[in-house]
Amino acid sequence: MLDIKNLHASIEEKDILKGINLQVKPGEVHAIMGPNGSGKSTLSSVIAGREDYEVTDGSIDFLGENVLDLSPEERAQLGIFLSFQYPIEIPGVSVSNFLKTSINEIRKAKGEEPMGAADLLKKMREKLKVLEMDKAFLSRSLNEGFSGGEKKRNEIFQMAMLEPKLAILDETDSGLDIDALRIVAQGVNKFRNKDNAVVVITHYQRLLDYIVPDVVHVLMDGKIVKTGDKNLALELEDKGYDWIKKEVASL
């Protein structure tokens, strides 16, 4: 599904990603862990197509297409979803209006008819329930005055509504208390199926108790330095990153 080869990216002449290789197959959950400044968020931004970053080498294929040639909206229309670490406020635009626009723009790109208001509302109600959110939420201005937890839930709510092929969750767990974490994880697990994939970017292991990864990668200084199964995350939680740094240095 997602095939990243030797990806190099920089911002303002500074190299951040220095040769990433990553393959994600349908049905899989990958976790990407690593210390601050290792390039985790850069990786998600580059996949989503943020213009601030310059890709200097390598390739990103998604469903057989070279996405580096595509605009951010085209990537989204193909089925790449990014749950933002810091969701953006758009005053005066309600959550429901934003979602309606989003869903219908994606449908339009696929040559489909817009979704009817009744169907849309029904689906919204269903998904809100999973995330234990009140329907009054739909008429609030997008992310304006939302608490940290509400913003993250709103991201997962949008993911549930858009049903992307690939969901990248960029530190969705940060700023969540334990109950919110459980609810968000519940939303993600409900979303998972054999045809889609999830990439979880996180500092901490605790989210991975709820969203169990098939593969865990450790990102350091712009490179994936270690890959393992879910036990690797536990080991990191236990021992920190220093032992990996030493391991890498000794190579």
């Binding site: 909206e73 933002f84 758009i90 005053p91 005066g92 635009v93």
Partner: protein, 480 residues
């Protein structure tokens, strides 16, 4: 070239969508302005003697006045001797139905997406259509007549209801009010007149579409709306103009009279030709709009301004009666080289008078937008209250936005609040939308409509949709 630059480039090169020209034979006066031209207009319109005298008096006053120079916008002063003051589509006699209307004109309306049949059938909106200063079609008159409501062209009102016209014309905006109001008073060729009798709630939105159609024709509309005691009316004014290279002058006057307990809601969507990407051409829109409120009356101005090269306009309320209310809701968009100097005046004279001002400016390209507002509290206006909110949204680095709020109060019991904000559409907001599959154009439309929501919500439903589209079209590609 980055993606957004590309879009910017595409759109700024895009021609004005409504830039077509309808070929209709017209009956026009020679260029220039003098007393003979005014006599000609008056004769052409078959006006009574008092009307001609009124015009001539205005003309003489105008001759002694000078063009205002305090405006922020800079523009080339119009040559008043190079303007044609009268042009009317040739016709046998006044058409009784749409069938008699020149098919070319009907086609024009179709291009604008406002087929009269469609309007009549779907929305129940009665329209008094003005093309080049003479009304050519009037609908739904009968329904209105049954309620005693008069909704007709100004020329017709002068013929049929001279007592009302005589009583109210020039009472809110006097002939000598300002340079352009005086000019309008001297040479106006048509416009709309509306009278709602005592206690009548007008059951439909009254709507007028104005268009400037003839090359080099100045348009001087005169609108008078009188809501008698306890009545209610919602009036819509929408405008688009075809593309022209030479600047076109538009100097309208709108007067609203809300008698005791009456309410007038006046909504405008203005989309005249703004000039091309280099600032060439476009309409000069110098308008005087003012309303007067008697006891417990209410006047609400709502405007969405996206067009014209230069806009100079302050829809105002004189809150004369006790407990009267004035409201002003405005969205003004400027792009490319457009300049807008707009706002309102709220003149509180009566006790317990209230006013609300919500102004949302949106500037893009190399444009310049100013809010200029006056809140004046007279010595007898005890417990007057005003709330003003003036927000500006900037797109790109080439535009400018200014706020000039003036407050004059002569009564210590007044409460006046003023809030102002300036913000920019962020790349983060655009990217967030992009990531949800929403393209940049659509994202800008979404963000801008969200920003202007408080004002758009005040528009009647069918107008709000049109206004939303217009905002999006006006700002296409302006994020760089």
């Amino acid at each position: 070239m980055s993606n957004s630059d590309q879009i910017l480039d595409d759109v700024t090169k895009k021609e004005y969508e409504y830039g077509f020209y309808t070929e209709v034979e017209s009956d026009r006066a020679p260029k220039g302005l003098n007393e003979d031209i005014i006599r000609l207009i008056s004769t052409k319109k078959n006006e009574p003697e008092w009307m001609l005298e009124w015009r001539l008096d205005a003309y003489r006053k105008w001759l002694e006045m000078t063009e205002p120079t305090w405006l922020k916008p800079k523009y080339e002063k119009p040559n008043f001797q190079d303007i044609t003051y009268y042009a009317a589509p040739k016709k046998k006699k006044g058409p009784d139905s749409l069938d008699e209307v020149d098919p070319e004109l009907l086609k024009t309306f179709e291009k604008l997406g406002i087929s009269l049949d469609e309007q009549k059938r779907l929305t129940g909106v009665a329209m008094d259509v003005v093309v080049d200063s003479v009304s050519v079609a009037t609908t739904f008159k009968k329904t209105l007549r049954e309620l005693g409501i008069i909704f007709c062209s100004m020329s017709e009102a002068i013929q049929e209801h001279p007592e009302l016209v005589k009583k109210y014309l020039g009472t809110v905006v006097p002939k000598s009010d300002n340079f352009y109001a005086a000019l309008n008073s001297a040479v106006f060729t048509d416009g709309s007149f509306c009278y709602i009798p005592k206690g009548v709630k007008c059951p439909m939105e009254l709507s007028t579409y104005f268009r400037i159609n003839e090359a080099g024709t100045g348009q001087f509309e005169r609108t008078l709306v009188v809501a008698d005691a306890g009545s209610y009316v919602s009036y819509l004014e929408g405008c688009t103009a075809p593309q022209r290279d030479e600047n076109q002058l538009h100097a309208a006057v709108v007067e609203l009279v809300a008698l005791d307990d009456a309410e007038i809601k006046y909504s405008t969507v203005q989309n005249w030709y703004p000039g091309d990407a280099n600032g060439k051409g476009g309409v000069y829109n110098f308008v005087t709009k003012r309303g007067i409120c008697e006891k417990n009356a209410k006047i609400s101005w709502t405007q969405v301004e996206t067009g014209s090269a230069v806009t100079w306009k302050y829809p105002s309320c004189i809150l004369k009666g006790d407990n009267s209310i004035g409201e002003f809701y405005s969205v003004a968009v400027t792009n490319n080289h457009q300049q807008a100097d707009t706002g309102t005046k709220m003149i509180h004279l009566g006790k317990n008078t209230k006013s609300t001002i919500i102004s949302k400016g949106i500037c893009a390209g190399s444009s310049d937008g100013s809010y200029r507002g006056l809140v004046k509290i007279g010595p007898r206006a005890h417990n007057a209250r005003n709330f003003s909110q003036c927000d500006s949204l900037l797109m790109g680095d080439g535009c400018g936005s200014h706020t000039f709020p003036y407050i004059e109060t002569q009564n210590k019991t007044a409460k006046i609040e003023h809030e102002a904000t300036t913000s920019k559409i962020g790349e983060d907001q655009i990217f967030y939308c992009n990531q949800r599959g929403i393209g940049t154009e659509e994202a800008v439309a979404l963000i801008v409509n969200g920003y202007a929501k408080e004002v758009l919500n005040k528009l009647p439903m069918e107008f709000a949709v049109e206004a939303q589209k217009l905002l999006a079209i006006s700002l296409e590609g302006s994020v760089g």
